[in-house]
């Protein structure tokens, strides 16, 4: 594997994991524009644990994941009091607080950033991305995932059906936080360096776009979305011009017009699913003629 492709695969793996962390809340109807903040907690958590405290690598990951999950759990309560665009702003503000703390805390390297000594090569990143993908697919196939998707569509009816909306949403934030923590820890150990400027609002916007452009209705969405966002700018690089981000922006706008519900929708997955080719044909046609 060439260095170029190894670099692309590493960032793609981190992006896939990161996208799933945001997807877990988005699938239950909550938009999180604070992705960079959650990822930063994971990255700085393990950086401090391994480099400053000298703990082993596994402990760094354990701390990164648990710490981010715990912070997400706590932040879920005030954030879930808000709705729609206010939730987007609340999570955005949270991310700004995290990056501000990192910037002004000398123990975390401040504006100079922090070197991370333990290195993780690209393969564990790829395997982690596959593992997280499988985990989220499983989650969405479970009854818990069914409750998440029901909440996304109609919170009132889900509640009448017995779904504990608050508990499901807090659980989603916590699971999303754990996954974001993992993505941050992998980032820190692969690139061996963390700095507050990296965890910028732009990163939060990009990861939310991975999810929204990919589609929130199925677990395929974030996977396709992050592949699209990571690889398309690279292919556009082949053209060799500085216009590639302009073209990329135009592609994003076009996607929103052509596929407002995301690249992958529930109906598309149903259409492409092999099991459906053999399914009995619905008699809905007869009924629709009657009406």
């Amino acid at each position: 594997m060439s260095g170029y492709w190894a670099g692309i695969l590493a960032i793609l793996s981190i992006n896939v994991i990161f996208a799933y962390s945001i997807y877990v809340t988005a699938a239950a109807g909550q938009l999180n524009l604070g992705g960079a903040g959650f990822q930063a907690i994971g990255a700085y958590g393990t950086a401090y644990a391994t480099t400053t405290l000298g703990l082993p690598l596994w402990a760094g990951f354990a701390i990164a994941i648990t710490l981010t999950a715990f912070v997400s759990f706590l932040i879920a309560f005030p954030v879930l009091r808000t709705r729609g665009v206010y939730m987007v702003l609340a999570t955005y503000a949270f991310a700004q607080v995290v990056s501000g703390i990192a910037l002004y805390t000398p123990a975390l390297g401040g504006a100079m950033g922090k070197v991370v000594t333990e290195y993780v090569p690209v393969w564990p990143l790829i395997f982690s991305a596959i593992g997280v993908t499988f985990l989220v697919f499983y989650l969405m196939a479970s009854r818990f995932g069914l409750a998440m998707r029901a909440l996304h569509d109609d919170e009132l009816v889900s509640t009448i059906m017995g779904v504990n909306a608050r508990a499901v949403q807090v659980a989603c934030f916590t699971i999303g936080g754990a996954i974001a923590g993992l993505s941050g820890a992998l980032y820190a150990h692969h690139f061996a360096f963390v700095e507050a400027q990296y965890f910028s609002p732009l990163l939060s916007i990009f990861v939310l776009l991975f999810v929204l452009i990919g589609g929130t209705q199925t677990a395929w969405g974030p996977l396709i979305g992050s592949v699209f966002f990571t690889l398309v700018p690279e292919f556009l690089r082949l053209g060799g011009s500085s216009w590639r981000y302009v073209i990329f922006g135009a592609v994003i706008v076009a996607m929103m017009i052509l596929r407002p519900e995301g690249i992958v929708t529930r109906t598309l997955v149903a259409k492409l699913s092999p099991s459906r080719w053999f399914a009995k044909k619905p008699v809905a046609q007869e009924a629709s003629l009657e009406r």
Partner: protein, 255 residues
């Protein structure tokens, strides 16, 4: 009478701002009965449903289910006590398949973490999925359970909502205009299906404007007008009652 009542409203009132929409409404529904709630548009029928199912808190009075005051019970817990409902405008989850919508109706039957973590989407032979398929078959719905509901015709979706409400194994099933928008054959099929549900001991509380459907299905009715109960008895009695006639048709003087 009230000793065998499965669901009772006792002096229930509700105001939105300064507007009193439900004013001191009381009635008892005996166990196993098919009970109709009728009245002109805006009489407060759907609001009564929303108060019974806990969508809004009540201002005064009590909602009593099987002898227990459930007035302050959160809406998500009422379904566990045997109270299930459908909605006036179809409120199926548009992005979920038929089977998933029906399985959502089983949510209150799922116990503990193990049930919550069962990958129902991957196991077509799993208990929950088999129950859902069987319930669809019992309702005479010969459709692909994997179909996304937003692609299905109105009459089918309307019936899926009733099936979903039944999945929680309710003792009281509340249906808000189940026959609205159905053609005469679909309406007759629905009434026949609801009678089989009733025969299994489920108490029915039905809001409906289609009087022939109510006549066919309901043993007793309560008539609401402007948030107050104006009649309780048989449908034939209601149709002969001067106050009910006035509520629907206006006073003779005006006409």
């Amino acid at each position: 009478m009230s000793a065998e009542a499965i669901l009772s409203l006792r002096g229930v009132s509700k105001a939105f701002g300064g507007l009193k929409v439900i004013d001191d409404v009381s009635f008892d529904i005996p166990k196993g009965e098919r009970f109709g709630l009728i009245g002109p548009n805006g009489a407060g029928k759907t609001t009564v449903f929303n108060l019974i199912s806990g969508v809004y808190p009540i201002d005064a009075g009590q909602v009593v289910l099987e002898g227990n005051d459930i007035s302050t019970l959160p809406s998500r817990k009422r379904i566990r006590n045997g109270l299930s409902r459908s909605f006036q405008n179809i409120r199926l989850m548009p992005h979920l398949s038929v089977a998933e919508n029906v399985m959502l109706g089983q949510h209150s039957q799922a116990l503990g973490l193990l049930d919550l973590m069962t990958p129902v989407g991957w196991l077509p032979r799993q208990r929950f999925r088999r129950e859902a398929d069987a319930a669809l078959a019992r309702a005479g719905l010969d459709i692909d359970p994997g179909e996304v509901v937003s692609n299905l015709p109105y009459g089918i979706r309307k019936k899926i909502e009733v099936v979903r409400a039944l999945m929680s194994k309710p003792r009281v099933l509340m249906l808000d205009e189940p026959a609205a928008g159905l053609n005469p054959r679909e309406t007759a099929d629905l009434a026949a299906f609801l009678k089989t549900v009733s025969d299994q001991g489920v108490t029915l509380l039905v809001v409906e404007h289609d009087m022939s459907f109510v006549k066919n299905l309901c043993e007793r009715v309560v008539v609401l007008n402007f948030g107050s109960k104006i009649f309780e008895g048989t449908l034939a009695g209601a149709q002969a009652d001067p106050a009910v006639r006035e509520a629907y048709l206006g006073t003779r003087r005006v006409a």
